[in-house]
Amino acid sequence: MGRKLLLEKANIPGIRTYDVYRANGGYTALEKAFKMAPADIVEEVKKSGLRGRGGAGFPTGMKWSFLARPEGVPRYLVCNADESEPGTFKDRYLMEFLPHLFVEGLVISSFALGANTTYIYIRGEYAWIVDILETAIAEAKAAGWLGKNILGSGFDCEIYVQRGAGAYICGEETALLESLEGKRGNPRIKPPFPAIKGLWDCPTVVNNVETLAAVVPIIEIGGEEYARIGMGRSTGTKLISACGNINKPGIYEIDMTISVEEFIYSEEFCGGIPNGKRLKACIPGGSSVPILPANLLLTTAKGEKRMMTYESLADGGFATGSMMGSGGFIVLDEDQCVVRHTLTLARFYRHESCGQCSPCREGTGWMEKILNNIEYGKGKMSDIDLLWDIQAKIEGNTICPLGDAAAWPVAAAIRHFRDEFEWHVLNPDEAQKANFGLRHYADPIHVATA
Protein backbone atom coordinates (compact mmCIF):
# COMPACT_ATOMS: atom_id res chain seq x y z
CA MET A 1 0.00 0.00 0.00
CA GLY A 2 1.43 3.31 -1.03
CA ARG A 3 1.18 6.38 1.07
CA LYS A 4 -1.97 8.48 0.65
CA LEU A 5 -1.84 12.20 1.28
CA LEU A 6 -4.85 13.54 -0.61
CA LEU A 7 -7.35 10.69 -0.50
CA GLU A 8 -6.44 9.37 2.94
CA LYS A 9 -9.70 10.65 4.40
CA ALA A 10 -11.84 10.27 1.28
CA ASN A 11 -13.80 7.33 2.69
CA ILE A 12 -14.79 8.95 5.99
CA PRO A 13 -18.58 9.35 5.90
CA GLY A 14 -19.57 13.00 5.67
CA ILE A 15 -16.04 14.28 4.97
CA ARG A 16 -17.60 16.68 2.48
CA THR A 17 -19.07 18.67 5.37
CA TYR A 18 -17.12 21.14 7.45
CA ASP A 19 -17.74 19.53 10.84
CA VAL A 20 -16.51 16.09 9.82
CA TYR A 21 -13.53 17.50 7.94
CA ARG A 22 -12.54 19.64 10.92
CA ALA A 23 -13.05 16.77 13.40
CA ASN A 24 -10.62 14.71 11.31
CA GLY A 25 -7.77 17.18 11.45
CA GLY A 26 -9.00 19.57 8.78
CA TYR A 27 -7.70 23.15 8.75
CA THR A 28 -4.79 22.33 11.06
CA ALA A 29 -2.38 22.88 8.13
CA LEU A 30 -3.99 26.28 7.67
CA GLU A 31 -3.45 27.11 11.36
CA LYS A 32 0.18 26.04 11.01
CA ALA A 33 0.65 28.05 7.80
CA PHE A 34 -0.71 31.25 9.34
CA LYS A 35 2.03 31.05 11.99
CA MET A 36 4.62 31.01 9.20
CA ALA A 37 5.85 33.89 7.05
CA PRO A 38 4.36 33.73 3.53
CA ALA A 39 7.86 33.47 2.04
CA ASP A 40 8.54 30.43 4.21
CA ILE A 41 5.44 28.70 2.83
CA VAL A 42 6.76 29.29 -0.69
CA GLU A 43 10.08 27.83 0.50
CA GLU A 44 8.35 24.69 1.82
CA VAL A 45 6.57 24.20 -1.50
CA LYS A 46 9.90 24.61 -3.31
CA LYS A 47 11.51 22.04 -1.04
CA SER A 48 8.66 19.60 -1.64
CA GLY A 49 9.53 19.37 -5.33
CA LEU A 50 5.78 19.57 -6.12
CA ARG A 51 5.24 19.78 -9.87
CA GLY A 52 2.13 21.24 -11.48
CA ARG A 53 -0.50 18.53 -11.61
CA GLY A 54 -2.41 19.98 -14.54
CA GLY A 55 -0.17 18.40 -17.15
CA ALA A 56 2.92 20.49 -17.73
CA GLY A 57 4.70 19.35 -14.55
CA PHE A 58 6.37 22.72 -13.93
CA PRO A 59 7.74 23.10 -10.38
CA THR A 60 5.06 24.91 -8.37
CA GLY A 61 7.39 26.64 -5.92
CA MET A 62 9.36 28.14 -8.79
CA LYS A 63 6.15 29.32 -10.48
CA TRP A 64 5.16 31.00 -7.22
CA SER A 65 8.53 32.71 -6.85
CA PHE A 66 8.13 34.34 -10.30
CA LEU A 67 5.06 36.26 -9.12
CA ALA A 68 5.70 40.00 -9.45
CA ARG A 69 4.97 42.05 -6.34
CA PRO A 70 4.71 45.71 -7.36
CA GLU A 71 3.40 48.06 -4.66
CA GLY A 72 -0.29 48.90 -4.71
CA VAL A 73 -1.23 46.38 -7.40
CA PRO A 74 -3.47 43.43 -6.46
CA ARG A 75 -2.18 39.92 -7.03
CA TYR A 76 -4.48 37.06 -7.90
CA LEU A 77 -4.51 33.34 -7.44
CA VAL A 78 -6.64 31.57 -10.03
CA CYS A 79 -7.35 27.90 -9.71
CA ASN A 80 -7.64 26.04 -12.97
CA ALA A 81 -10.57 23.67 -12.45
CA ASP A 82 -11.38 23.53 -16.16
CA GLU A 83 -10.48 19.84 -16.26
CA SER A 84 -11.17 18.90 -19.89
CA GLU A 85 -8.36 16.67 -21.10
CA PRO A 86 -9.96 13.42 -22.29
CA GLY A 87 -9.17 10.68 -19.78
CA THR A 88 -8.86 13.10 -16.87
CA PHE A 89 -11.44 13.36 -14.09
CA LYS A 90 -9.38 13.61 -10.90
CA ASP A 91 -10.01 17.28 -10.06
CA ARG A 92 -13.71 16.60 -10.25
CA TYR A 93 -13.25 13.89 -7.59
CA LEU A 94 -11.30 16.20 -5.28
CA MET A 95 -13.81 19.01 -5.59
CA GLU A 96 -16.85 16.78 -5.35
CA PHE A 97 -15.78 14.66 -2.39
CA LEU A 98 -13.06 16.64 -0.57
CA PRO A 99 -14.10 20.27 -1.11
CA HIS A 100 -12.69 21.42 2.23
CA LEU A 101 -9.24 19.98 1.52
CA PHE A 102 -9.30 22.01 -1.67
CA VAL A 103 -10.52 25.19 0.08
CA GLU A 104 -7.86 24.78 2.77
CA GLY A 105 -5.19 24.51 0.06
CA LEU A 106 -6.59 27.60 -1.64
CA VAL A 107 -6.48 29.73 1.52
CA ILE A 108 -2.92 28.65 2.40
CA SER A 109 -1.75 29.32 -1.16
CA SER A 110 -3.52 32.69 -1.30
CA PHE A 111 -1.80 33.66 1.96
CA ALA A 112 1.60 32.52 0.64
CA LEU A 113 1.14 34.59 -2.52
CA GLY A 114 -0.52 37.58 -0.88
CA ALA A 115 -3.61 37.20 -3.04
CA ASN A 116 -6.69 38.71 -1.40
CA THR A 117 -9.02 37.54 -4.13
CA THR A 118 -8.92 34.04 -5.50
CA TYR A 119 -11.02 32.63 -8.31
CA ILE A 120 -11.83 29.02 -9.04
CA TYR A 121 -12.48 28.73 -12.77
CA ILE A 122 -14.47 25.52 -13.12
CA ARG A 123 -15.63 23.94 -16.36
CA GLY A 124 -19.26 24.83 -16.97
CA GLU A 125 -20.43 21.23 -17.21
CA TYR A 126 -19.47 20.56 -13.57
CA ALA A 127 -22.55 22.58 -12.63
CA TRP A 128 -23.51 20.65 -9.49
CA ILE A 129 -19.95 20.90 -8.14
CA VAL A 130 -20.27 24.69 -8.09
CA ASP A 131 -22.90 24.27 -5.36
CA ILE A 132 -20.66 21.89 -3.40
CA LEU A 133 -17.77 24.37 -3.55
CA GLU A 134 -19.90 27.38 -2.65
CA THR A 135 -21.26 25.51 0.36
CA ALA A 136 -17.74 24.61 1.48
CA ILE A 137 -16.56 28.20 0.99
CA ALA A 138 -19.51 29.53 3.03
CA GLU A 139 -18.82 26.99 5.80
CA ALA A 140 -15.13 27.88 5.88
CA LYS A 141 -15.98 31.56 6.01
CA ALA A 142 -18.46 31.07 8.84
CA ALA A 143 -15.74 29.21 10.78
CA GLY A 144 -13.28 32.06 10.31
CA TRP A 145 -10.86 30.43 7.84
CA LEU A 146 -11.80 32.90 5.14
CA GLY A 147 -12.85 36.53 4.96
CA LYS A 148 -11.42 39.48 6.88
CA ASN A 149 -8.36 39.27 9.11
CA ILE A 150 -8.06 35.48 9.06
CA LEU A 151 -6.85 34.16 12.47
CA GLY A 152 -5.91 37.69 13.43
CA SER A 153 -3.18 37.77 10.80
CA GLY A 154 -4.43 40.93 9.15
CA PHE A 155 -4.76 38.97 5.92
CA ASP A 156 -8.09 39.10 4.06
CA CYS A 157 -9.14 36.55 1.51
CA GLU A 158 -12.25 35.86 -0.56
CA ILE A 159 -12.72 32.90 -2.88
CA TYR A 160 -15.18 33.00 -5.79
CA VAL A 161 -16.29 30.24 -8.11
CA GLN A 162 -16.62 31.14 -11.79
CA ARG A 163 -18.20 28.73 -14.26
CA GLY A 164 -16.92 28.31 -17.78
CA ALA A 165 -19.24 27.36 -20.61
CA GLY A 166 -17.69 24.51 -22.55
CA ALA A 167 -14.23 25.10 -24.02
CA TYR A 168 -11.23 22.79 -23.59
CA ILE A 169 -8.95 25.65 -24.57
CA CYS A 170 -9.79 27.47 -21.33
CA GLY A 171 -7.61 24.94 -19.53
CA GLU A 172 -4.68 26.81 -21.11
CA GLU A 173 -3.85 29.40 -18.48
CA THR A 174 -3.96 32.55 -20.60
CA ALA A 175 -7.15 31.43 -22.37
CA LEU A 176 -8.59 30.82 -18.93
CA LEU A 177 -7.74 34.39 -17.90
CA GLU A 178 -9.36 35.76 -21.07
CA SER A 179 -12.46 33.73 -20.28
CA LEU A 180 -12.49 34.96 -16.69
CA GLU A 181 -12.42 38.49 -18.12
CA GLY A 182 -15.60 37.65 -20.03
CA LYS A 183 -14.08 37.08 -23.45
CA ARG A 184 -13.57 34.27 -25.94
CA GLY A 185 -10.94 31.82 -24.75
CA ASN A 186 -8.17 32.84 -27.12
CA PRO A 187 -4.73 32.19 -25.61
CA ARG A 188 -2.41 35.16 -25.23
CA ILE A 189 1.08 35.40 -26.62
CA LYS A 190 3.69 34.80 -23.89
CA PRO A 191 5.66 36.65 -22.64
CA PRO A 192 4.43 38.49 -20.70
CA PHE A 193 3.63 35.55 -18.45
CA PRO A 194 0.66 35.70 -16.05
CA ALA A 195 3.08 36.07 -13.13
CA ILE A 196 3.80 39.57 -14.48
CA LYS A 197 0.61 40.40 -16.41
CA GLY A 198 -2.26 38.05 -15.75
CA LEU A 199 -5.87 38.66 -14.74
CA TRP A 200 -6.83 42.26 -15.63
CA ASP A 201 -3.09 42.80 -16.30
CA CYS A 202 -2.25 42.14 -12.64
CA PRO A 203 0.31 39.56 -11.44
CA THR A 204 -1.43 36.20 -11.31
CA VAL A 205 -0.62 32.61 -10.45
CA VAL A 206 -2.70 29.93 -12.16
CA ASN A 207 -2.55 26.46 -10.56
CA ASN A 208 -4.41 23.20 -11.01
CA VAL A 209 -6.85 21.89 -8.35
CA GLU A 210 -4.70 18.91 -7.38
CA THR A 211 -1.61 21.13 -7.12
CA LEU A 212 -3.32 23.46 -4.65
CA ALA A 213 -4.80 20.59 -2.65
CA ALA A 214 -1.29 19.09 -2.35
CA VAL A 215 -0.16 22.23 -0.53
CA VAL A 216 -2.13 21.03 2.53
CA PRO A 217 -0.11 17.83 3.14
CA ILE A 218 3.10 19.68 2.24
CA ILE A 219 2.48 22.11 5.09
CA GLU A 220 1.31 19.29 7.35
CA ILE A 221 4.36 17.04 6.94
CA GLY A 222 6.87 19.59 5.65
CA GLY A 223 8.41 19.99 2.21
CA GLU A 224 11.37 17.75 2.93
CA GLU A 225 9.23 14.86 4.10
CA TYR A 226 6.98 15.26 1.04
CA ALA A 227 10.02 15.16 -1.23
CA ARG A 228 11.11 11.85 0.29
CA ILE A 229 7.99 10.18 -1.16
CA GLY A 230 8.31 9.01 -4.75
CA MET A 231 11.34 8.66 -7.00
CA GLY A 232 13.79 11.20 -8.36
CA ARG A 233 12.10 14.42 -9.42
CA SER A 234 8.68 12.74 -9.16
CA THR A 235 8.04 13.67 -5.56
CA GLY A 236 4.94 13.17 -3.47
CA THR A 237 1.77 11.48 -4.60
CA LYS A 238 -0.13 11.82 -7.86
CA LEU A 239 -3.78 11.24 -8.64
CA ILE A 240 -4.33 9.02 -11.66
CA SER A 241 -7.71 8.88 -13.41
CA ALA A 242 -7.89 5.40 -14.87
CA CYS A 243 -10.36 4.59 -17.63
CA GLY A 244 -10.93 2.66 -20.84
CA ASN A 245 -10.85 -1.14 -20.82
CA ILE A 246 -10.02 -1.93 -17.21
CA ASN A 247 -11.88 -3.73 -14.46
CA LYS A 248 -11.80 -0.92 -11.93
CA PRO A 249 -11.92 2.52 -13.54
CA GLY A 250 -11.63 5.39 -11.08
CA ILE A 251 -9.29 7.71 -9.22
CA TYR A 252 -6.14 6.30 -7.63
CA GLU A 253 -3.53 8.06 -5.56
CA ILE A 254 -0.10 6.61 -6.27
CA ASP A 255 3.15 7.45 -4.53
CA MET A 256 5.13 7.25 -7.80
CA THR A 257 7.12 4.16 -6.88
CA ILE A 258 5.03 1.54 -8.69
CA SER A 259 5.41 0.11 -12.19
CA VAL A 260 2.91 0.62 -15.00
CA GLU A 261 2.33 -3.13 -15.07
CA GLU A 262 1.44 -3.19 -11.39
CA PHE A 263 -0.87 -0.23 -11.87
CA ILE A 264 -2.82 -1.97 -14.65
CA TYR A 265 -2.92 -5.48 -13.26
CA SER A 266 -2.88 -5.22 -9.47
CA GLU A 267 -6.15 -5.48 -7.57
CA GLU A 268 -5.25 -2.38 -5.61
CA PHE A 269 -5.47 -0.31 -8.79
CA CYS A 270 -7.04 -1.03 -12.20
CA GLY A 271 -7.54 -4.74 -11.52
CA GLY A 272 -6.57 -5.89 -15.01
CA ILE A 273 -8.51 -5.95 -18.25
CA PRO A 274 -12.12 -7.23 -18.37
CA ASN A 275 -13.19 -10.49 -19.98
CA GLY A 276 -9.70 -11.91 -20.11
CA LYS A 277 -8.76 -9.58 -22.97
CA ARG A 278 -5.18 -8.66 -23.64
CA LEU A 279 -3.62 -5.22 -23.49
CA LYS A 280 -3.16 -3.52 -26.85
CA ALA A 281 -2.10 0.03 -26.05
CA CYS A 282 -2.36 2.81 -23.50
CA ILE A 283 -2.33 6.58 -23.33
CA PRO A 284 -0.83 7.15 -19.89
CA GLY A 285 -1.27 10.90 -19.35
CA GLY A 286 -4.41 12.26 -20.98
CA SER A 287 -5.39 12.24 -24.65
CA SER A 288 -2.65 14.65 -25.77
CA VAL A 289 0.29 12.48 -24.81
CA PRO A 290 1.67 9.78 -27.13
CA ILE A 291 -0.10 6.42 -27.22
CA LEU A 292 2.22 3.51 -26.46
CA PRO A 293 1.92 -0.07 -27.68
CA ALA A 294 1.81 -2.68 -24.91
CA ASN A 295 5.46 -3.68 -25.22
CA LEU A 296 6.79 -0.11 -24.92
CA LEU A 297 4.28 0.70 -22.21
CA LEU A 298 5.41 -2.00 -19.81
CA THR A 299 9.13 -1.87 -20.63
CA THR A 300 11.23 1.03 -21.87
CA ALA A 301 13.29 0.72 -25.05
CA LYS A 302 16.28 0.19 -22.77
CA GLY A 303 14.58 -2.91 -21.39
CA GLU A 304 13.84 -1.43 -17.97
CA LYS A 305 10.50 -1.79 -16.20
CA ARG A 306 8.47 1.35 -16.92
CA MET A 307 7.43 3.11 -13.74
CA MET A 308 4.54 5.50 -13.00
CA THR A 309 6.84 8.53 -12.66
CA TYR A 310 7.32 11.68 -14.72
CA GLU A 311 10.80 10.51 -15.78
CA SER A 312 10.08 6.88 -16.56
CA LEU A 313 6.90 7.57 -18.55
CA ALA A 314 8.91 10.03 -20.64
CA ASP A 315 11.89 7.69 -21.02
CA GLY A 316 12.88 7.38 -24.68
CA GLY A 317 11.34 10.74 -25.63
CA PHE A 318 8.51 10.63 -28.14
CA ALA A 319 10.27 7.92 -30.18
CA THR A 320 9.59 5.22 -27.59
CA GLY A 321 8.16 7.02 -24.56
CA SER A 322 5.21 9.19 -23.54
CA MET A 323 4.38 11.56 -20.65
CA MET A 324 2.75 11.69 -17.22
CA GLY A 325 0.69 14.66 -18.42
CA SER A 326 -2.46 15.13 -16.37
CA GLY A 327 -2.52 11.51 -15.20
CA GLY A 328 -5.41 10.53 -17.47
CA PHE A 329 -4.65 6.84 -17.97
CA ILE A 330 -6.58 5.36 -20.93
CA VAL A 331 -6.27 1.62 -21.57
CA LEU A 332 -7.15 -0.03 -24.90
CA ASP A 333 -7.76 -3.77 -25.07
CA GLU A 334 -7.18 -6.07 -28.05
CA ASP A 335 -10.62 -5.35 -29.57
CA GLN A 336 -10.01 -1.62 -29.93
CA CYS A 337 -9.16 0.06 -33.19
CA VAL A 338 -6.33 2.58 -32.98
CA VAL A 339 -7.54 4.36 -36.13
CA ARG A 340 -11.03 4.88 -34.73
CA HIS A 341 -9.72 5.97 -31.35
CA THR A 342 -7.34 8.45 -32.97
CA LEU A 343 -10.23 9.74 -35.07
CA THR A 344 -12.26 10.55 -31.94
CA LEU A 345 -9.29 12.46 -30.54
CA ALA A 346 -8.73 14.31 -33.82
CA ARG A 347 -12.40 15.28 -33.84
CA PHE A 348 -12.05 16.48 -30.24
CA TYR A 349 -9.12 18.78 -31.08
CA ARG A 350 -10.81 20.10 -34.23
CA HIS A 351 -13.85 20.93 -32.10
CA GLU A 352 -11.76 22.56 -29.38
CA SER A 353 -9.30 24.56 -31.49
CA CYS A 354 -9.98 28.24 -30.77
CA GLY A 355 -9.25 29.12 -34.40
CA GLN A 356 -6.67 31.77 -33.67
CA CYS A 357 -3.66 30.12 -35.38
CA SER A 358 -3.98 28.76 -38.93
CA PRO A 359 -1.91 25.58 -38.49
CA CYS A 360 -4.16 24.40 -35.68
CA ARG A 361 -7.48 25.72 -37.04
CA GLU A 362 -6.96 24.25 -40.51
CA GLY A 363 -4.74 21.30 -39.62
CA THR A 364 -7.05 19.79 -37.00
CA GLY A 365 -9.90 19.84 -39.52
CA TRP A 366 -7.80 18.17 -42.21
CA MET A 367 -6.56 15.51 -39.82
CA GLU A 368 -10.11 14.64 -38.81
CA LYS A 369 -11.26 14.43 -42.46
CA ILE A 370 -8.35 12.22 -43.51
CA LEU A 371 -8.74 9.92 -40.49
CA ASN A 372 -12.45 9.74 -41.21
CA ASN A 373 -11.68 8.60 -44.76
CA ILE A 374 -9.25 5.95 -43.57
CA GLU A 375 -11.66 4.70 -40.90
CA TYR A 376 -14.58 4.47 -43.33
CA GLY A 377 -12.73 2.69 -46.14
CA LYS A 378 -12.00 5.68 -48.34
CA GLY A 379 -8.35 6.18 -47.44
CA LYS A 380 -5.30 6.17 -49.70
CA MET A 381 -1.79 5.02 -48.80
CA SER A 382 -0.54 8.58 -49.35
CA ASP A 383 -3.01 9.79 -46.71
CA ILE A 384 -0.86 8.30 -43.98
CA ASP A 385 2.13 10.37 -45.05
CA LEU A 386 -0.12 13.38 -45.49
CA LEU A 387 -1.36 13.00 -41.91
CA TRP A 388 2.22 12.81 -40.72
CA ASP A 389 3.08 15.93 -42.70
CA ILE A 390 0.13 17.91 -41.30
CA GLN A 391 0.79 17.02 -37.67
CA ALA A 392 4.47 17.97 -38.10
CA LYS A 393 3.41 21.36 -39.46
CA ILE A 394 1.07 22.04 -36.53
CA GLU A 395 3.53 21.10 -33.80
CA GLY A 396 5.46 24.07 -32.50
CA ASN A 397 3.75 26.52 -34.85
CA THR A 398 0.93 27.79 -32.66
CA ILE A 399 0.55 30.34 -29.87
CA CYS A 400 -0.50 27.76 -27.28
CA PRO A 401 0.14 24.05 -26.72
CA LEU A 402 -3.26 22.95 -28.09
CA GLY A 403 -1.58 22.60 -31.47
CA ASP A 404 1.01 20.24 -30.03
CA ALA A 405 -1.69 18.41 -28.10
CA ALA A 406 -3.60 17.82 -31.34
CA ALA A 407 -0.48 16.75 -33.26
CA TRP A 408 1.00 14.30 -30.77
CA PRO A 409 -1.78 11.67 -30.63
CA VAL A 410 -1.85 11.46 -34.44
CA ALA A 411 1.95 11.30 -34.68
CA ALA A 412 2.25 8.59 -32.04
CA ALA A 413 -0.55 6.49 -33.55
CA ILE A 414 1.21 6.50 -36.93
CA ARG A 415 4.64 6.03 -35.37
CA HIS A 416 3.62 2.93 -33.45
CA PHE A 417 0.65 1.54 -35.39
CA ARG A 418 1.39 2.38 -39.03
CA ASP A 419 0.65 -1.25 -39.94
CA GLU A 420 -2.90 -0.82 -38.64
CA PHE A 421 -3.45 2.32 -40.75
CA GLU A 422 -2.08 0.52 -43.82
CA TRP A 423 -4.34 -2.45 -43.15
CA HIS A 424 -7.35 -0.11 -43.12
CA VAL A 425 -6.33 1.38 -46.46
CA LEU A 426 -5.58 -1.99 -48.10
CA ASN A 427 -8.61 -3.84 -46.68
CA PRO A 428 -11.38 -1.23 -46.60
CA ASP A 429 -14.22 -3.75 -46.54
CA GLU A 430 -12.74 -6.01 -43.92
CA ALA A 431 -11.86 -2.99 -41.75
CA GLN A 432 -15.58 -2.09 -41.59
CA LYS A 433 -16.40 -5.44 -40.02
CA ALA A 434 -13.30 -6.69 -38.25
CA ASN A 435 -10.50 -5.38 -36.11
CA PHE A 436 -6.76 -5.39 -36.60
CA GLY A 437 -6.50 -6.79 -33.09
CA LEU A 438 -3.01 -7.60 -31.91
CA ARG A 439 -1.54 -8.40 -35.32
CA HIS A 440 0.85 -5.53 -34.71
CA TYR A 441 2.82 -7.70 -32.33
CA ALA A 442 5.00 -10.58 -33.48
CA ASP A 443 4.32 -12.29 -30.18
CA PRO A 444 1.13 -10.76 -28.80
CA ILE A 445 0.63 -13.23 -25.98
CA HIS A 446 4.06 -12.59 -24.61
CA VAL A 447 3.78 -8.86 -25.09
CA ALA A 448 0.28 -8.23 -23.89
CA THR A 449 -0.15 -10.48 -20.91
CA ALA A 450 1.26 -9.68 -17.55
Binding site: G87, S179, G182, Q336
Partner: protein, 151 residues
Protein backbone atom coordinates in the same frame (compact mmCIF):
# COMPACT_ATOMS: atom_id res chain seq x y z
CA UNK B 1 -20.98 41.76 -9.49
CA UNK B 2 -19.24 42.49 -6.20
CA UNK B 3 -16.87 39.63 -6.87
CA UNK B 4 -15.12 41.58 -9.63
CA UNK B 5 -13.17 44.85 -9.28
CA UNK B 6 -14.84 48.10 -10.35
CA UNK B 7 -15.25 48.44 -14.09
CA UNK B 8 -14.66 44.73 -14.73
CA UNK B 9 -18.35 43.83 -15.05
CA UNK B 10 -17.60 42.12 -18.36
CA UNK B 11 -16.36 39.19 -16.28
CA UNK B 12 -19.96 38.50 -15.35
CA UNK B 13 -20.84 37.82 -18.98
CA UNK B 14 -20.37 34.04 -19.02
CA UNK B 15 -22.29 33.42 -15.76
CA UNK B 16 -25.05 35.82 -16.83
CA UNK B 17 -25.40 34.06 -20.18
CA UNK B 18 -25.90 30.78 -18.29
CA UNK B 19 -28.77 32.38 -16.37
CA UNK B 20 -30.21 33.92 -19.53
CA UNK B 21 -30.18 30.54 -21.25
CA UNK B 22 -31.93 28.91 -18.31
CA UNK B 23 -34.61 31.59 -18.29
CA UNK B 24 -35.09 31.36 -22.05
CA UNK B 25 -36.10 27.70 -22.45
CA UNK B 26 -32.54 26.46 -22.76
CA UNK B 27 -31.26 28.61 -25.60
CA UNK B 28 -29.94 32.10 -26.35
CA UNK B 29 -32.01 34.13 -28.80
CA UNK B 30 -30.69 37.39 -30.27
CA UNK B 31 -33.15 39.23 -28.00
CA UNK B 32 -31.80 37.44 -24.93
CA UNK B 33 -28.21 38.30 -25.89
CA UNK B 34 -29.10 41.94 -26.58
CA UNK B 35 -30.75 42.13 -23.18
CA UNK B 36 -27.57 40.75 -21.53
CA UNK B 37 -25.49 43.32 -23.45
CA UNK B 38 -27.65 46.15 -22.13
CA UNK B 39 -27.57 44.75 -18.61
CA UNK B 40 -23.76 44.65 -18.51
CA UNK B 41 -23.23 47.83 -20.58
CA UNK B 42 -21.49 45.87 -23.34
CA UNK B 43 -21.78 46.14 -27.11
CA UNK B 44 -24.00 43.36 -28.53
CA UNK B 45 -21.05 42.01 -30.54
CA UNK B 46 -19.13 41.40 -27.29
CA UNK B 47 -21.95 39.12 -26.19
CA UNK B 48 -22.42 37.40 -29.57
CA UNK B 49 -18.73 36.58 -29.93
CA UNK B 50 -18.70 34.92 -26.53
CA UNK B 51 -22.01 33.11 -27.00
CA UNK B 52 -20.80 31.60 -30.28
CA UNK B 53 -17.45 30.50 -28.83
CA UNK B 54 -18.58 28.29 -25.95
CA UNK B 55 -20.26 24.99 -26.69
CA UNK B 56 -22.70 25.04 -23.77
CA UNK B 57 -24.65 27.92 -25.24
CA UNK B 58 -27.40 26.81 -27.59
CA UNK B 59 -28.07 29.29 -30.35
CA UNK B 60 -31.28 27.67 -31.54
CA UNK B 61 -34.26 26.23 -29.66
CA UNK B 62 -33.79 22.89 -27.92
CA UNK B 63 -36.20 20.34 -26.47
CA UNK B 64 -37.26 20.33 -22.85
CA UNK B 65 -34.71 17.57 -22.20
CA UNK B 66 -31.32 17.96 -23.82
CA UNK B 67 -29.35 14.71 -24.03
CA UNK B 68 -25.69 15.67 -24.36
CA UNK B 69 -23.89 12.42 -25.02
CA UNK B 70 -20.11 12.26 -24.86
CA UNK B 71 -18.43 10.66 -27.88
CA UNK B 72 -14.71 11.23 -27.17
CA UNK B 73 -12.11 8.41 -26.99
CA UNK B 74 -12.62 7.00 -23.47
CA UNK B 75 -16.43 6.96 -23.87
CA UNK B 76 -16.05 5.45 -27.35
CA UNK B 77 -13.94 2.62 -25.87
CA UNK B 78 -16.89 1.82 -23.63
CA UNK B 79 -19.60 1.85 -26.24
CA UNK B 80 -20.81 5.46 -26.65
CA UNK B 81 -21.32 4.88 -30.41
CA UNK B 82 -23.91 2.26 -29.57
CA UNK B 83 -25.65 4.51 -27.02
CA UNK B 84 -25.88 7.37 -29.51
CA UNK B 85 -27.24 5.01 -32.20
CA UNK B 86 -29.77 3.64 -29.73
CA UNK B 87 -31.04 7.09 -28.70
CA UNK B 88 -31.38 8.07 -32.37
CA UNK B 89 -33.41 4.95 -33.08
CA UNK B 90 -35.51 5.18 -29.96
CA UNK B 91 -36.40 8.87 -30.38
CA UNK B 92 -36.32 8.75 -34.17
CA UNK B 93 -34.15 11.87 -34.43
CA UNK B 94 -30.63 12.61 -35.66
CA UNK B 95 -27.87 14.39 -33.78
CA UNK B 96 -28.79 18.04 -33.35
CA UNK B 97 -32.50 17.35 -33.88
CA UNK B 98 -35.51 17.69 -31.59
CA UNK B 99 -38.47 15.32 -31.35
CA UNK B 100 -41.75 16.54 -32.85
CA UNK B 101 -43.32 16.86 -29.38
CA UNK B 102 -40.54 19.22 -28.39
CA UNK B 103 -39.47 17.03 -25.50
CA UNK B 104 -36.03 15.74 -26.50
CA UNK B 105 -32.97 17.05 -28.29
CA UNK B 106 -29.92 14.88 -28.96
CA UNK B 107 -26.52 16.57 -28.99
CA UNK B 108 -23.12 14.88 -29.13
CA UNK B 109 -20.46 16.54 -27.03
CA UNK B 110 -16.74 16.17 -26.41
CA UNK B 111 -15.19 14.89 -23.18
CA UNK B 112 -17.11 15.92 -20.05
CA UNK B 113 -14.65 14.51 -17.51
CA UNK B 114 -16.49 11.31 -16.62
CA UNK B 115 -14.19 8.92 -18.49
CA UNK B 116 -14.13 6.34 -15.70
CA UNK B 117 -17.91 6.16 -15.63
CA UNK B 118 -18.43 5.86 -19.39
CA UNK B 119 -20.55 5.94 -21.44
CA UNK B 120 -22.30 9.02 -20.12
CA UNK B 121 -24.43 12.04 -20.90
CA UNK B 122 -25.23 15.36 -19.32
CA UNK B 123 -28.92 15.95 -18.65
CA UNK B 124 -29.57 19.41 -17.26
CA UNK B 125 -27.34 20.11 -14.29
CA UNK B 126 -26.30 16.50 -13.68
CA UNK B 127 -24.42 13.61 -15.29
CA UNK B 128 -25.99 10.25 -16.11
CA UNK B 129 -23.20 7.70 -16.09
CA UNK B 130 -22.55 4.00 -16.85
CA UNK B 131 -25.23 4.23 -19.55
CA UNK B 132 -26.79 1.10 -21.00
CA UNK B 133 -29.74 0.69 -23.37
CA UNK B 134 -31.92 -0.12 -20.36
CA UNK B 135 -30.81 3.03 -18.54
CA UNK B 136 -31.57 5.09 -21.63
CA UNK B 137 -35.05 3.55 -21.78
CA UNK B 138 -35.62 4.36 -18.11
CA UNK B 139 -34.38 7.94 -18.53
CA UNK B 140 -36.64 8.61 -21.48
CA UNK B 141 -39.61 7.13 -19.63
CA UNK B 142 -38.84 9.23 -16.56
CA UNK B 143 -38.58 12.43 -18.60
CA UNK B 144 -41.92 11.68 -20.27
CA UNK B 145 -43.59 11.02 -16.91
CA UNK B 146 -42.26 14.22 -15.37
CA UNK B 147 -43.27 16.25 -18.43
CA UNK B 148 -46.76 14.76 -18.40
CA UNK B 149 -47.16 15.48 -14.69
CA UNK B 150 -46.14 19.11 -15.23
CA UNK B 151 -48.67 19.64 -18.02
Amino acid sequence: MARYPDGKQKSALIPVLHIAQEENAGWLSAEAMDYVAELLSLKPIEVYEVATFYSMYNLKPVGKYLFEVCQTGPCMLNGSDDIIAYIKEKLNIGVGETTADGLFTLKTVECLGACGYAPMMQLGKFYKEHLTREKVDALIAECRTVAAANN
